[in-house]
């Protein structure tokens, strides 16, 4: 399908899906950028900021696809929507830990590794499916994103496996992070209330199929590093695909849009 051949209900489903994926990358990329200068060592600062930059680029691609569908300018979509208009999963908006990047940041590296690794695994599954999306421009964007995501997944997998097989303290902290992420990771794995229309339009595989791929992969990886499988991933704080969010999203959006919002008409 192209922009011209989309039926109205297919277009609505496509728009919903693009917001979900764009917002997921956008907000996690922002959380990643807050780590700049605070990562465990300088090479990780280089790597993590590079990954965040790529992911912001991915969000930008999705927002541009939305712009092409008449949703408004990509920059405005990123900066001027209210929190309830965001469709990202709740676990991706969560703060990195106590403090802020300016004041006493006591960020949790285990949480960063677990959240980013679990997300990268799912993102890979999503992109694999999108390569065959019925909407041509989305399939093209997915192929582009995959070439970069390949390095991200590899990066987080190395951190995850090494810390999970490291010292007792590392293992204990990683397990606490897994427990925390698991409580809400179901929110990443869902396509939200428009699920049926999204799948019917052949935009992406069925969420149940993709979820199964993710849980299979997680079971295998956790077994490999000697950890137990925590069972069904949950969605304890609600479904971000419905526009349900925490104050953490509000805080993130107000920080990242602070400059833009002073004068949206200016070319930033």
């Amino acid at each position: 399908m192209t922009q011209e051949t989309l039926k109205p209900q297919e277009k609505a489903a496509l728009i919903e899906l693009l917001y979900q994926m764009g917002d997921d990358d956008f907000i996690l990329s922002f959380r990643g950028s807050e780590w700049l200068g605070l990562a465990p060592h300088i090479e990780e600062d280089v790597a993590f900021s590079s990954i965040s930059q790529d992911m912001m680029g991915h969000a930008n691609l999705y927002y541009h696809l939305l712009e092409d569908l008449g949703e408004g300018e990509a920059d405005r979509l990123a900066h001027l929507r209210s929190p309830d208009q965001f469709r990202n999963a709740i676990i991706l908006e969560e703060v990195n830990g106590p403090g802020t990047y300016l004041k006493e940041p006591e960020y949790d590296w285990a949480f960063a590794v677990v959240r980013n690794y679990f997300y990268a695994v799912h993102k890979q599954i999503r992109l694999d499916s999108l390569r065959h999306s019925s909407y041509g421009p989305l399939a093209e964007a997915a192929r582009k994103i995959m070439t970069e995501q390949y390095y991200h997944l590899m990066h987080w997998e190395i951190w995850f496996k090494q810390l999970m097989t490291s010292t007792d303290e590392a293992i204990q902290r990683m397990n606490a992070a897994i427990e925390k992420v698991w409580k809400d990771f179901g929110g990443v794995l869902t396509l939200g209330p428009s699920y049926a229309e999204i799948v019917k339009a052949n935009l992406i595989d069925d969420e149940a199929v993709m979820k199964k791929r993710w849980t299979n992969k997680m079971e295998a990886v956790l077994k490999e590093v000697g950890a137990g499988y925590p069972g069904e991933p949950r969605m304890e704080r609600g479904n971000g695909r419905n526009g349900v969010h925490t104050d953490d999203l509000k805080q993130a959006l107000s920080t990242l849009s602070e400059v833009y919002a002073t004068n949206p008409a200016t070319g930033w």
Partner: protein, 166 residues
């Protein structure tokens, strides 16, 4: 296409050869294989460009520089730049000249035919040694990695291989 248009396209290509990657001053966007198509009709040039990495902050600068270069070509009144993703930019699009110029800049060019997931051989751009270590697969820009040559004891960079993943 008429001969006049053909010769026009050659002039356009020459002008594009002067547009450099803002982050690698010795290499042109033509050398990097970023130019997909150029069309000139009635003094209007249309260029489709393949972005290297999607978050590349240099894209706006590249767009501006292409316009500037083309609009100074005699016979071209305006130039339009479109970024497209099909075909995907892959590192095998870098020309042999581009590969040499990357080395001059201290960047080892990516392998010409890379299969994603397979090991990747990198030679030192200064001494050609293969006795190198990867310090960081990520680097100062999205497209580069950081390495160290154990033979000539120089730090250097390498362009990450990017191949079509189907």
């Amino acid at each position: 296409m008429s001969e006049i248009k053909n010769s026009m396209t050659d002039t356009v290509m020459d002008a594009l050869g002067d547009v450099k990657d803002p982050e690698i001053a010795s290499v042109s966007i033509l050398d990097l294989g970023m130019i997909h198509e150029v069309e000139v009709t009635d003094g209007k040039a249309k260029v489709s460009v393949l972005p290297t990495f999607s978050g590349c902050p240099a894209l706006h600068i590249i767009e501006r520089d292409i316009k500037k270069a083309l609009e100074s070509v005699e016979g071209i009144e305006s130039a339009e730049v479109n970024f497209v993703f099909t075909p995907s930019w892959t590192t095998d699009r870098i020309t042999p000249e581009g590969r040499e110029r990357l080395k001059e800049f201290g960047i080892s060019p990516p392998p010409a035919n890379h299969v994603m997931g397979e090991p990747w051989e990198i030679d030192c751009p200064y001494c050609g040694s293969t006795y190198v270590t990867m310090e960081n697969i990520f680097g100062p820009t999205a497209c580069r990695s950081i390495l160290y040559c154990k033979s000539c004891k120089n730090p250097f960079e390498a362009m990450k291989p990017v191949a079509d993943m189907g």
